[in-house]
């Protein structure tokens, strides 16, 4: 198994070897390599956000029997670019009585942890920035920085709506972090590892049948609900409920500072969808294991040609699963009404928390009694 796990394209190794072949030192090659995956992932995240914004607008329009953006580019594909450009050239306003330092720091603190979390998102066996041993835990830790930024910007705006929105965001994030972490814990218990790579590998034994969604159906639902709450998407968008709070903590923000919030929320949505597909839908795994298909055609899995195909299939599958979940989130947005703040906290503390605890204990029991199926 360990030998099989290390198959797959290792671009880093080939890159380093190539540079060393040109006569550079090993450390210099590593230094040259380091920024590349970061840039690639950052670009991927941004393009993912642009695609999500476009999809959101088009799907929302379709659900309401409208046309949606149409004139900016073919099918309005350039509309998110136009939005971004508009925000870029807008005046950067800081209200006179706002706390200037906190007001500026707020959106930065919201965006950085979300972008940093892409560190642990794998698109293939070796296609991630860093295979951190505490992978998924790093994400949970980083995502709990976000409410501080929200609270900060809500407080610094010196506006009652902003403050209420910030407080709601903090309350929401704190209450949904716990069931989220507990349902992740159940998955981690089955794969015996916090690393996202190991979690995906543990699901890829028998294709679609070994995905965690069959072993953790309740955990999947809890995780998805909590992820929506963390992203502040409908039905959990009370921090920015426009009918009650103008725009919540974003009320006083304009221009690029607002764009950071906007970007952060969409990067977070894509990230949550990615993590759901990694934790429960087999990550980059094809519904039928690629090894089986290769052996069906009597090809060795180690061939360079097959390797490239496998890697491409992995990337496509990850993106496909992610965008299916994004689509579900958009559909849910136009289906469900917004919950009240007391209903939100009720759902978090009185429903999701006990159920996720029961789910965790149940998984532990299953792991002890059926170690083959539940990762002994």
């Amino acid at each position: 198994m360990p030998i099989l796990m290390n198959t797959g394209i290792d671009i880093e190794l080939s890159f380093n070897n190539a540079l060393q072949g040109l006569g550079f030192s090993k450390s210099f090659a590593h230094m040259l390599w380091l920024p590349l995956p970061m840039l690639v992932v950052l670009t991927a995240a941004l393009i993912g956000v642009l695609a999500t914004v476009w999809l959101e607008r088009k799907i929302s329009a379709a659900a309401q029997q409208r046309v949606g953006p149409e004139y900016a580019g073919a099918l309005g594909l350039l509309q998110p670019m136009a939005d971004g450009l508009k925000l870029l050239v807008k005046e950067d306003i800081i209200p006179a009585k706002a706390d200037k330092v906190l007001f500026t720091l707020g959106p930065i603190l919201v965006v950085i942890p979300v972008v940093l979390s892409w560190l642990i998102v794998p698109f293939g066996q070796n296609l991630l920035i860093s295979n951190v041993g505490i992978g998924i835990f790093l994400w949970i830790a980083l995502s709990s920085i976000q409410p501080i930024g929200l609270l900060m910007s809500g407080y610094a705006s010196n506006n009652k709506y902003s403050l209420l929105g910030g407080l709601r965001a903090a309350a929401q994030s704190i209450s949904y972090e716990i069931p989220l972490a507990l349902s992740v814990l159940a998955v981690v218990m089955m794969s015996n590892s916090l690393s996202t790579i190991d979690i995906v590998n543990q699901q890829n034994g028998a294709g679609i049948f070994s995905w965690n969604i069959w072993r953790q159906p309740i955990g999947f639902i809890i995780f998805w609900i909590c992820a929506l709450a963390e992203c502040e998407r409908l039905p959990f968008d009370l921090p920015e409920a426009e009918e009650e709070l103008v725009a919540g903590y974003q009320t006083e923000y304009a221009g690029m500072k607002f764009a950071l919030f906007y970007l952060g929320s969409y990067i977070n949505l894509v990230l949550s969808a990615l993590l759901v597909s990694i934790l429960y839908l087999g990550g980059w795994g094809f519904p039928v294991p690629v090894e089986w298909i290769a052996s069906l055609f009597k090809q060795s899995i180690d061939q360079a040609f097959i390797q490239v195909i496998t890697a491409s299939i992995g990337i496509v599958m990850t993106i496909l699963k992610t965008y299916l979940l994004v689509f579900l989130a958009i559909l849910l947005r136009w289906t469900t009404p917004r919950v009240r703040i007391d209903q939100l906290l009720d759902l978090g503390w009185k429903f999701l928390l006990p159920i996720s605890l029961v789910n965790l204990l149940f998984t532990a029991a299953l792991k002890l009694s059926f170690p083959i199926a539940f990762g002994g």
């Binding site: 379709a62 659900a63 309401q64 409208r66 046309v67 136009w334 289906t335 469900t336």
Partner: protein
């Protein structure tokens, strides 16, 4: 012992009730999702104004048209108007002992387009048009004098820069999207003129029948 057992049962009952509620809530959510999903395959109802415009119906009450030469300055339009809006500026010619009309104006910033003036005009010099784009930069330019009132609006169907679209009630039977119909195809149901023809034919037949009956009676 019995107490603890009944407590256990009570607890289990509560758990099962809770589970049932959660499942039914999920079920309702799925029903809602299916409704939203179904909406996505429906066609958009958008009319791309100003590139596309709906053809106003034949009874559309738009801006009022006025023919100066037909007007006899009787001021019936002023009397039937809810707010006495039309201004009829006339003088008495003492030699001919007739009214001489100088000016006529209606302020469309105040008009409610009820159509009473058109209804009661004895000489039919007033009529309703299908024009509804009355926006101006100044509300005073909404006060139309007899020259402005005499202009004919550009019809949606003849304007080369506009794609005319039929309203839902004017589409052929079964059609839902005005973009996809054959322009030669008639609307669902009968046209007013067809109904009038049909009624005329029917009444003729009835009267001939009655006549034959009468003649029969006379024969008796």
């Amino acid at each position: 012992m019995v107490d603890t057992l009944s407590q256990m049962l009570n607890f289990l009952n509560k758990v099962s009730e809770y589970t049932r509620e959660a499942i039914s809530a999920g079920n309702y959510l799925l029903q809602g999702l299916s409704v939203t999903f179904d909406h996505m395959r429906r066609r958009p109802v958008t009319v791309q104004y100003p590139y596309e415009k709906l053809i106003p119906s034949e009874r559309y009450r738009g801006r009022i048209h006025y023919e100066f030469d037909k007007c006899i300055a009787c001021e019936v339009c002023v009397r039937v108007c809810p707010i006495n809006l039309p201004v009829v500026d006339w003088v008495m010619n003492k030699e001919t002992k007739k009214k001489e009309l100088r000016n006529y104006s209606i302020d469309f910033g105040v008009c409610i387009f009820c159509g009473n003036c058109v209804e009661y005009c004895p000489t039919n010099c007033l009529s309703m048009t299908e024009e509804y784009e009355l926006a101006t930069f100044d509300r005073h330019s909404l006060n139309y004098d007899n020259v402005a009132l005499g202009r004919l609006p550009t019809s949606v169907t003849t304007d080369p820069s506009v794609q005319p679209l039929r309203e839902l009630a004017y589409l052929p039977k079964g059609a839902m999207d005005p973009h996809e119909i054959n322009p030669a195809e008639a609307r669902a149901g009968k046209l007013t003129s067809e109904i009038v023809d049909w009624m005329k034919n029917n009444s003729n037949q009835n009267s001939t029948k009655n006549k034959t009956k009468d003649s029969d009676k006379q024969g008796d």
